[in-house]
């Protein structure tokens, strides 16, 4: 019994049947005129195609038949054999058998194969013409073909007809509503509405295909990519039965291949590299698709190296995409998102597999073109996840309908972050130069009036926070009318020329609606998201400028400054990552913990911190809000408050300059410089659990293996026979050799003495 037919097999059966039907005429003609080259070529192409497909689909028997027929035909084409009646009959018998077997595959039954050899033997050059066996026609009824192949164009026409029907239904309903209607007519209309709605769903479904069509070539692809690189990749695919618009699957193919390629080539390391960082030699690549509302989420996750964001930032600065100042302000996510910039790759080398100039920027452009989004989650050293979010179908886009000056415009829902009323007290609008700025929960956004952009008189009451690839802005409109799912089509070039619109649609109201393009509106309003911040302030300084400093408001709201050279970056962290541990505040960061200085009460939620460094030690400094970068005057007024180096006057305002030296002088030495203490653990765990914290608190770094470095000090239990004679012995009971293990004073003194010697 054959396995349940998958899509590929079904496709093969349909295609083979189609060709056979078209070929039947050729076969008859070839029989009549065996020297006819064109007929011969047609039959040759057929068996050749069947052979190729059989190899791919693992149908050895059919493949073998096609193969021998192909060989004989090739000989005829080369003139090595003449197509006599015997040969023609034998080839035709094979073609017939291919047809029978195809039917058998379709019907899911096995077919008698005892006469295959006879058919093949009949092809031999010395076969007697009379020996051509008559294939026993199996008396099974041919399986009824329940599938039809349709052109997408026909489906599109069905879809358009469907939309016409919906509109006609709506108009009918509108007209009926105006007058007195017989309830029977109303009942009929309701039934019609129901049927139309069902029909619409069904027709939409005809365009759907299982996402397996996208996933099925991946195992082979991963294998082919990994093998030459000497990598081992375990692939897991989930959610292949999620359905998606056929056209969407085609459009996803290229970006998808690119992402897989990146994961195998750049993400997952070689077995040796992976062993070195303590991972299993075999890398994992997980692909998972799931439906969420009318969106499909496809997640591609590897457990490789992740993206080196420092390198990305360096490259972005070198390429002039970012200024140093902007780079310091970037959060971790924004740093990772740099991979979507054209021409930026965290890799320095181009390999045979990827790096052919097609970058993540192209992937993102492709996904956005079909109304989707790409998100990236980077775990440096642990892997990378890419999440593709695409709509179920190409044509239906969820939108929000905005009103301005009596007109209606739709905007894709995915580009609207949120909608707030101007009456909301948390919204503030201020003029800024010739433009306006909206402040929403502390975030400043450029304000664009939809009415101004479109040249319509408006009376704005709401703000839509619009996200574009480059940044956010607030769009003022009169009202939000509706959320609607719309079939969007491209508009005429002269309509699209303004760049403000992404397409047009005909909603059920029967009046055309234009779809707004967020990025186009930002461009029309002349928003420049990458404009350098506060650069002119530095230029205004006359004479020799002092040091560059970052100005910020501290937790108590005081304007302060810190030397820019000491700032590694500005970061927003969660207050959960800040803990009062070990007697002071510490901030959890990607690589461990760093001491945190807070000159005031910390807010709950998110906290902005400056990550300061002197090149070796790091300190986090909690602030209220970063302001700008300015050059400080050389002359500072002396300060009397501890930790403040002086008072500078910046733009008429007093600014306290943080004494970076004092800040760092107050810190303990970096971990790497601590003396080593070897703990000779005896297996009871006492040393590890009880002793280690005491030793570490005294400023040591503990190891429990002599190979870990040259220890300044060794601690051993009194009964440890193998211990170094210089080791400090700890007695289990008072009065034993060495120090009694709970004599804390003696222990601390011994630790302090050795620590001092080491320093």
């Amino acid at each position: 019994m054959l396995a349940p037919m998958d899509d590929l097999l079904q496709e093969f059966v349909a295609e083979t049947r189609e060709t056979l039907e078209a070929l039947s005429g050729e076969i008859v003609l070839w029989e009549a005129a065996p020297a006819d080259r064109a007929r011969l070529d047609a039959i040759f192409r057929f068996v050749h195609t069947v052979k190729g497909s059989c190899g791919f689909l693992d149908l050895p028997r059919l493949g073998h038949l096609a193969h021998v027929a192909e060989e004989v035909l090739a000989q005829v084409r080369d003139g090595q054999r003449t197509p006599d009646t015997g040969l023609v009959s034998a080839v035709l018998a094979i073609v017939d058998r291919i047809g029978e077997l195809t039917d058998a595959i379709d019907a899911g039954r096995s077919s008698d194969d005892t006469t295959d050899d006879l058919l093949i033997a009949a092809l031999a050059e010395d076969a007697a013409p009379a020996a051509t066996p008559v294939a026993e026609t199996p008396q099974h009824a041919r399986a009824v073909n329940r599938s039809v192949r349709l052109g997408v164009e026909l489906l599109d026409r069905m879809m358009a007809g469907m939309s016409d029907m919906v509109l006609a239904r709506n108009e009918l309903a509108r007209r009926l509503r105006d007058g007195d209607v017989d309830p029977r007519v109303e009942g009929a209309l309701d039934r019609l509405s129901l049927t139309v709605a069902e029909m619409r769903d069904t027709i939409t479904r005809t365009r759907m295909q299982r996402i397996d069509a996208l996933f099925s070539p991946i195992p082979r692809m991963v294998r082919d990519l990994a093998a030459p690189l000497g990598k081992q990749v375990a692939l897991s695919i989930e959610g292949g039965d999620v359905e998606l618009d056929r056209e969407m699957i085609e459009l996803l193919r290229d970006p998808f291949v690119h992402i897989i390629r990146n994961a195998v080539d750049h993400g997952i390391g070689s077995p040796a590299d992976r062993r070195e960082v303590g991972k299993l030699e075999t890398g994992n690549l997980r692909i998972c698709a799931r439906q969420s509302g009318n969106q499909i989420l496809i997640e591609i996750e590897d457990d490789g190296r992740g993206v080196n964001t420092d390198r990305l930032v360096e490259k972005a600065i070198a390429a002039g995409i970012l200024s140093e100042l902007d780079a310091q302000r970037l959060g971790d996510q924004a740093r990772t998102d740099l991979i979507f910039h054209a021409g930026l790759s965290s890799r320095d080398t181009v390999t045979a597999v990827s790096g052919r100039g097609v970058g993540m920027d192209v992937v993102r452009a492709n996904i956005e073109q079909i109304g989707g989004r790409v998100a990236v989650r980077n775990r440096p050293g642990q892997g990378l996840s890419l999440i593709l979010q695409v709509p179920l179908t190409l044509s239906i886009i969820p939108t929000i309908v905005l009103a301005v000056g009596g007109q209606r415009y739709a905007m894709p829902r995915q580009s609207i972050e949120e909608i707030v009323s101007l009456a909301n007290p948390s919204v503030r609008i201020d003029p800024l130069g010739g433009g306006r700025i909206a402040t929403l929960r502390g975030e400043r956004l450029p304000l664009v009036s939809l009415g101004d952009v479109l040249g319509i008189d408006d009376a704005a009451t709401v703000l839509a926070i619009v996200t574009t690839r480059d940044g956010h802005f607030a769009l003022a409109a009169d009202a939000v009318l509706d959320a609607e799912e719309l079939v969007v089509k491209p508009a005429a070039p002269a309509v699209m020329a303004s760049g403000l619109f992404a397409g047009q649609t005909l909603p059920d109201s029967g009046l055309p609606l234009l779809l707004l393009d967020g990025a186009g509106i930002a461009a029309a309003a002349d928003l420049r998201f990458n404009a350098p911040i506060a650069a002119p302030a530095a230029e205004q300084e006359v004479g020799r400028p002092g040091i560059q400093a970052l100005l910020f408001d501290d937790l108590a709201g005081r304007r302060r400054a810190v030397a820019l050279a000491a700032v590694d970056r500005v970061e927003t962290v969660s207050s959960h990552d800040i803990r009062d541990s070990g007697g002071r505040l510490h901030l959890t960061v990607a690589g461990g913990v760093v001491p945190l200085v807070a000159c005031g009460p910390l807010r709950d939620g998110s906290v902005d911190v400056l990550r300061l460094t002197d090149g070796a030690t790091e300190i986090a400094y909690a602030i209220g809000e970063a302001q700008e970068i300015a050059a400080l005057p050389r002359a500072l007024a002396p300060a009397r408050r501890a930790g403040i180096a002086g008072i500078a006057l910046v733009a008429g305002e007093q600014v306290e300059l943080i004494d970076a030296h004092a800040l760092f002088a107050g810190e303990i030495a970096p971990v790497a410089e601590r003396p080593l203490c070897l703990l000779r653990c005896d297996g009871t765990g006492w040393m590890d659990v009880f002793l280690r914290p005491v030793v570490e608190a005294a400023g040591y770094r503990c190891i429990d293996d002599a190979g870990g470095g040259e220890a300044t000090l060794t601690l051993a239990m009194d009964d440890d026979p193998a211990a170094d004679p210089a080791a400090i012995r700890l007695a289990r009971a008072p009065g034993g050799p060495g120090i009694y293990r709970y004599d804390r004073a003696a222990l601390s003194a011994a630790l302090a003495a050795h620590s001092g010697r080491a320093a």
Partner: protein
């Protein structure tokens, strides 16, 4: 050789429109304005389930806008449907395409639209190319 022409009136003048381009002739219903589009784009209208871009032919010809748009000729150009406003329509008839009368001055926007003339019972009618009326369209290519 004769071709089919749709005889219509635009801006109070008789014109001949090449029949091959014309999809249908309709009465235009309610229109939606298109902000920031060339003036010749009068708006968008619904034609069954499709959206058509309405071209005010008078504006495209450099004349003041049509006062009450009603009749329109629907044509498909480069895959998009356009409705060209006309004053009135007469009929479709075969005519012979004649070269432009040498030295004739057409005036204002008409100049670039002339593609020859047809002779209807002694009355010369200008042949206009609808695609050339689309702003930013195919005038250069035609």
């Amino acid at each position: 050789m004769t071709e089919l022409f749709l005889i219509a009136h635009i801006a109070d003048r008789g014109v001949a429109i090449e029949g091959g381009l014309v999809d249908s002739v309709v009465d235009i219903g309610e229109m939606v304005a298109v902000p920031r589009a060339p003036a010749a784009i009068r708006g968008l209208a619904a034609l069954r389930s499709r959206v058509v871009t309405v071209i005010d032919t008078r504006v495209a010809l450099g004349l003041p806008p049509t006062e009450t748009p009603r009749r329109a000729v629907i044509a498909r150009v480069d895959g998009h449907l356009y409705a060209f406003l006309v004053d009135s329509l007469e009929d479709v008839a075969p005519h012979e395409r004649l070269p432009m009368t040498a030295g004739a001055s057409l005036g204002s926007g008409w100049a670039c639209e002339g593609r020859g003339i047809v002779d209807r019972d002694g009355e010369p009618l200008l042949i206009i190319d609808l695609a050339a009326l689309i702003p930013g369209g195919l005038a250069a290519a035609a």
